[in-house]
Structure formats: C-alpha cells, structure tokens
C-alpha cells in the first residue's frame, strides 16, 4: 500500500517535470512579453524619453478614437475590413478552384503544382517591392500591358491614387495568398474517398450535386479551419502594405497592423501597444463568434 502511493507520487512528479517546459516556455516567451507589452498601452511609453514613463489610463485609446484631422484610425479600421474581406474572398475562391482543377490527373501536373505554390515561398516584403515596381505609375509593367491592350490611354498612378492604392495592395495580396488555399484544399481533397463519387455516378448525380453533397461536406472542417487561420494571417500581414505604399497616400491604404508599425517607428510604444491590444481583443472576439456560428467545435466533437 505504502509502496504503491510512493510509486504514484513518483509518477506524478515525473509527469509534472515533463509537462513543466511546455508550460514555462510559453509563459516566458509568449505570455510574459504579451502582458508586459499590453501594460504599455496604459502608459505614456515613448522611447524619445524613457525617463518619463508614467501611467495614463485610457489616454492612448482616447487618442486613437479622437476626431482630429490628423487621426486616420477610422479610415484604417475600414481599410482593414476591406483588406481582410476582399483578400480572403478571392484567395479562397481562386485557391479552391485551382485545387479542384489539380484533382484531375494530367501530364505535368506536379510541375504545374510546384509553380502554383511558388509565391508562398517568397518573403512578403520582396513580394511587396516587386509589385510596387509593377504598379509604378511611370515605368510600371501593369500600365504598359494595359496600354498595349488599349484598356487605358494614359498611365495610371495605381499606388499614388487614394482610390486605387488599397485595391492594388489587395490585388497583390490575392496573388500571394492563393497557393495557401490551393495547398490545404488539395491535401484535403486527396482524403475524400473515390468510392463516394463512384456511388454518386451510379445514382446519376450531376457534377454540381457531387460538389455540394460530397466534396464540400467531406472537407468542411478543413475549409473552416483554413479560413479561420487565413483571416488571422491576413489581418496580421502588414508586410505588403508597408513595402508597397507605407500606408499612403494620405493614409488611404493603411491597415491596423501597418499603422501600428508606423507608431513603433515614431517610438511611441504606448500608442502602438494600444493598437496591439485592440487587435487581440478583436481577433479573440472574432474567433469566438466564428466558431459558434459555424458550430466548428460540435462538428469535431
């Protein structure tokens, strides 16, 4: 009896030590900095003068939501919605489409697949610089092509116009994000049993019926998860905007995270942290709502 309990003690201790790193490491490297950083949101924390850091309550948040001429946070929030919504929609539909096409076996399929996945392997900043020159108003290749096709008569300053800057960035982002969905959905489609399609053929189902009744339900959980992850990633992807327009002109293409980068550069870590806290609150809310609407958890259980 005594021996048994000692054994159990030892086992508990063993498990405790095994689990410890998994608890402690995220604590030190993720949650401690996150808490410490979030505290800055309530401080006047400016690297211009680190001797003068003090608690200021909600003042940073107040500044973000103030209605002064130089405050562009409202535009920035609207832009973020457009940026995430449009990018996601086109990335998803195009990525899904390509994945369906890749399902069919054809000659050179693997080469084609490799080419499709290529943009995913390149850094966001490099993609941004590439597209910035392509969209250049005087010497960009996009203007050149459109002019040769007689679609426009004069070069367009894509990134210099408040009406087109954000959409140009979104176009680049769509191009960049398609491979992600293609990769994930292609993999999911491989897992759908051919028997189901054969059975459907026997029953005389149309292609559309097979798609809505077999393909989509079978990969539903993958679709839901990829969309969720993608929303978070697109939201947190200022690289393209930053290297293409730096949020300009006149703040018309800023999204929340590129705005935060600018605040970091102005050394105002308090304000930047306030934006960061808002980002986290928004994303957590989004995830909870998304998961209850799609009943993702029940599906899995």
């Amino acid at each position: 009896m005594k021996q048994k309990s000692r054994l159990r003690m030892r086992r508990t201790r063993f498990i405790f030590f095994m689990v410890l790193p998994a608890v402690v490491i995220p604590m030190i490297f993720t949650y401690y900095p996150m808490l410490k950083g979030s505290m800055m949101a309530f401080q006047s924390y400016n690297l211009m003068n680190v001797k003068n850091i003090k608690w200021i309550g909600l003042e940073n948040f107040g500044k973000l939501f103030s209605h002064s001429a130089s405050n562009s946070f409202y535009t920035t929030m609207m832009n973020t919605v457009k940026w995430v919504g449009l990018s996601l929609f086109f990335q998803f539909t195009c990525g899904f489409g390509i994945a369906l096409l890749l399902k069919k076996k054809f000659r050179g399929a693997s080469i084609y697949q490799a080419l499709i996945f290529f943009p995913w392997a390149v850094s966001g900043f490099i993609i941004g610089i590439m597209w910035r020159w392509m969209f250049n108003g005087t010497s960009g290749v996009i203007n050149d092509i459109l002019m040769k096709m007689h679609l426009i008569s004069q070069p367009v300053g894509w990134l210099a116009d408040k009406g087109t800057a954000l959409y140009s960035c979104i176009a680049a982002n769509i191009w960049y994000g398609i491979p992600y969905f293609t990769i994930m959905i292609t993999a999911a489609l491989r897992g759908v049993s051919e028997d189901l399609y054969e059975a459907a053929d026997v029953d005389g189902a149309s292609a559309m019926q097979k798609f809505t009744n077999i393909t989509v339900p079978c990969i539903r959980s993958v679709l839901l998860l990829t969309v969720l992850l993608r929303v978070i990633w697109i939201f947190n992807f200022p690289d393209l905007i930053y290297s293409m327009t730096q949020g300009g002109p006149a703040g018309s293409s800023n999204i929340v995270t590129s705005y935060m980068m600018q605040l970091v550069q102005s050394l105002d870590y308090g304000m930047a942290s306030a934006v960061g806290v808002l980002c986290i609150l928004f994303l957590v809310t989004f995830v909870v709502v998304y998961m209850s609407i799609t009943k993702y958890a029940q599906e899995e259980a």
Binding site: P33, N49, L228, I232, S266
Partner: protein
C-alpha cells in the same frame, strides 16, 4: 466541453496573433533599465595601456562599401595600437537605429554608436551618450574643424554629444541635354525650376519637370521652400526653423509668405511632376531622374555616383540649391557622426579611436568614399577631389554663406517623433485636395505651438 474548446481555440488565436507581429507585446524591446548599466563584456576595471581592449562600433547608415572603408581605418588604428581590437557591427540598414536603441537601453555591447540628426535628441535625452568635451579640448586637430562641425558637436543643449563625420547637403541635379533642347538656362531660383519644369513637362511622352518627393519625409522639401521664401533672418535658430525669432514659441506657419510658398509647392507638384510622385520616396525620385522621366532632382551628394554610372557626362549637371524670393537658398545641413556610449568601460581608449576616425586624413578619406562633405577645412588641400569636378559645387555654395544658408526642422523636440509619422499624411491630404491650405497650416501651427508649450525653448 464545448466552451472549453472555444476557449482553447481563442487562446490559440491569441498566440498566433503574437507570432504574426500583431500582438502588443511581441515587438516590444527589453524593459527599460539602462541606468542600472549592466557591465560591458570586455572585463572589469579601467584598462591600463598594454591591457587588451575591445572597442565595439555600431553603425547605422550601413553599406558594404562604407563598412569596408571603416574597417580600413580601424585596421590602421589597430596596427598602431596592438592592444586594441576594434569590432564593427553593421545591422541591416532598415532597422539599424532600432537595434542601436535596444543596445543603448540594455546598457551594454557598444562603445561607439552612429548618431544621426534624427536620433541625437533621443540618445542624449535618455542619457545614453557621453559628453566628449574634455577629449575634444585635448585634441590637436580641433582647430581645423569647420564652423558647421562645431555647430553639430554642440547641437544638443551645448554639450558635445557627438563628433560628426560629415554633412549631407542637397544640390539641384538637372538634365542639361533636355534644357538645351528647349533653349532653357541653368535653373538658379525656385521660379526657374517651376518655369523650366512646365516647359519640359509633356505627359504624352512621359517627360516631366521635377522629381517630387511626396512619400516619406516629403515635408522636408516643403520646408526648404518656406525658408527660401522667408529668409533665415526671421527664424529663431537654424536648428529650429519652425519658430519665429523672438516669437515666444510663435511659428512661421501663420505668415503670409509661408502660405504663398505652400501654394507654390502645390503648383510645382500639379504642373511639373508625375501624379504618382505623391508616393515617391528616395529610390523613385532618383530612378525618375536617372531613368529619363524627370528633368530635375534635388538630392544628397550620394546621388552623384548613381548619375555618373548611369548617365552620360554631358547629360546632367549639379548646380547649387535654388534660391527663393528672399534671395536666399535655404536647406538643412543634414549630419551624422559618432557618439560615445555613457556606459563604455574604456572611455579613454574609445574617445581616442573616435577622434582618430575623425582626424583630417581619415575623415577626408571617408568623406570622399561616401560622398559627404568633410568636417575639416583643410580637406580640399588633402584631396583635390573636393575642389574639382562635381563636388566643387559644394565648395562654391560654402563660399557664399550669405546666400546659401542652413535651417532645419526642430528635431530636438520630443514631439518630432510623432510629427514625423503624422505630417506626411497631412501634406498628402493637402496635395490631393482633401484638406485646404488653411487646414494644413493651422494643423502645423497648433502642433508646434503645443510642442513649445510642453517642452519649452530647446534651441
């Protein structure tokens, strides 16, 4: 069960946010504790001569060519001082200043850092860099320093926080061949720039007059126009060009001359520049000029090398900065240099190397290879490069100090960091007719009036 799952996913999402750089904390530096000063790595105590010493220099405006020049000078020093090892750290250009900031906050790992006109206020306010006065006083080359160099040494609160390595002054590059084609004379005033620009601009053949800086730091170009309209006699101090002389914090932005100059600035953009130049930064401006889109460009001397490489010698010329109605041409005397950290373990050795780097011979060599204006007035004697060829224009400007004058935005204000991120958006809004001239000017006036109220007179 269900709720737990949702909570777990939400937590996972939070962690992802952190990874993506969106988390408030992930980008934050180590907590402040600079004053406690963790000891530098080199070991304890002051090093007596003979004891081996490592001096670490961290540069900011890095380029491989420049690092090689620095290394060459450092090797020369090491040859004379066998006990000293000089280590040069070259962080990538894009985030070099924030790397330096982190090192300075940690209070270790650096003895000499590159200090720029845009960072000196931050470093000095936080007490991260040391006073060099006693070393400069004992220096045998202090008498050949130029007046500009003396000004910069004492830029911040009359304390010798840095030793400049050179100046970046802007000049006007123009296409001589296009000017000849149109029968235009060399541009000397802003009006000349405008008139020639209008004459040359022809969007159909994608030729434009002027390389406009509409992107980051575009306000600096507007400022030079204001000052050229006003003249420097009206401003409080060359380093605080937004304030009026004896104005008790009143700014220049309420003056009619400035409004007129602002209108000129907008006309210049509307009538002589490509529309997409509202988003142009340094590389687009230079590319626009070198690539044959624009006829005129105002830039730093480092562009000389690009022009020489990509254009024919008879295609372009470099002439002095354009003058305004005040008869003066006013532009910032951009500077950068070296500062000694306040926590260095070997101040004597560090200062000795810092001054070696800045002596006439080494500074002239550095300036020639890096296209800056040297800090010693005998540079032209040491190297004819500075009295001949393209660079001679800068010597011509220096010879007429009444016409070619310096002024700069008040970078010594803590508010300047915020200003820098907000001002470009405001100018872009004005240039695209979203806000009026009065909106912009009153915003500028209010911003700097408030900065004066908060921080007092800092020049």
């Amino acid at each position: 069960m269900n709720k737990k799952r949702i909570a777990a996913m939400a937590l996972a999402a939070v962690m992802l946010t952190g990874c993506g750089g969106g988390g408030g904390g992930s980008a934050a530096p180590a907590p402040a504790g600079g004053d406690g000063a963790a000891p530098a790595e080199q070991g304890a105590g002051t090093a007596a001569s003979g004891e081996s010493v490592t001096i670490t220099l961290v540069e900011s405006l890095t380029s491989p060519e420049r690092t090689a020049v620095l290394r060459e000078i450092a090797d020369k020093y090491q040859a004379d001082h066998p006990n000293v090892t000089i280590e040069i750290i070259s962080p990538p250009l894009e985030n070099a200043d924030s790397k330096i900031t982190q090192m300075l906050m940690n209070g270790s790992g650096a003895d000499i850092v590159e200090v720029r006109d845009s960072t000196i206020t931050q470093y000095a306010t936080n007490g991260w860099i040391a006073d060099l006065q006693q070393y400069i006083d004992a220096w045998d080359e202090k008498d050949t320093l130029t007046e500009s160099a003396d000004e910069v040494i004492h830029y911040f609160q009359d304390t010798a926080y840095m030793m400049p390595y050179g100046f970046y002054q802007r000049g006007l590059f123009y296409r001589t061949d296009w000017f000849e084609e149109k029968g235009l004379d060399k541009p000397e005033t802003w009006q000349d720039v405008y008139d020639a620009g209008v004459a040359i601009t022809d969007p159909a053949s994608s030729r434009f007059g002027y390389s406009f800086r509409g992107g980051t730091s575009g306000y600096q170009y507007a400022d030079t126009i204001y000052w050229s309209w006003l003249g420097t006699d009206k401003i409080a101090d060359p380093t605080a060009g937004y304030y009026l002389k004896d104005g008790n914090g009143a700014t220049i932005f309420t003056l009619p001359e400035v409004k007129e100059a602002l209108h000129f600035y907008k006309d210049l953009f509307k009538n002589t520049c490509p529309t997409d130049s509202i988003a142009w930064g340094f590389s687009e401006m230079v590319q626009g000029f070198v690539g044959g889109t624009t006829a005129m460009l105002i830039q730093d001397p480092e562009v000389i090398a690009t022009c020489s490489a990509d254009m024919g010698d008879d295609q372009w010329a470099l002439v002095p900065f354009p003058k305004g109605p005040s008869g003066q041409a006013v532009f910032p005397n951009g500077f950068a240099g070296w500062g000694m950290t306040s926590f260095t373990e070997h101040p004597a050795e560090t200062a000795d190397f810092l001054l070696f780097l800045s002596n006439s011979e080494n500074n002239t060599y550095f300036a020639k290879n890096y296209s800056t204006i040297p800090i010693h007035n005998n540079a032209a004697e040491k190297d004819s490069y500075f009295s001949e060829g393209r660079f001679a224009m800068y010597m011509d400007m220096a010879a007429e100090p009444d016409v070619y004058r310096h002024a700069a935005y008040p970078q010594m204000y803590e508010a300047f960091a915020t200003y820098k991120t907000e001002v470009d958006v405001m100018y872009q809004k004005y240039l695209t007719d979203e806000i009026s001239d009065d909106d912009l000017l009153s915003w500028l006036d209010e911003f700097w009036t408030k900065a004066y109220e908060d921080e007092g007179e800092k020049w």
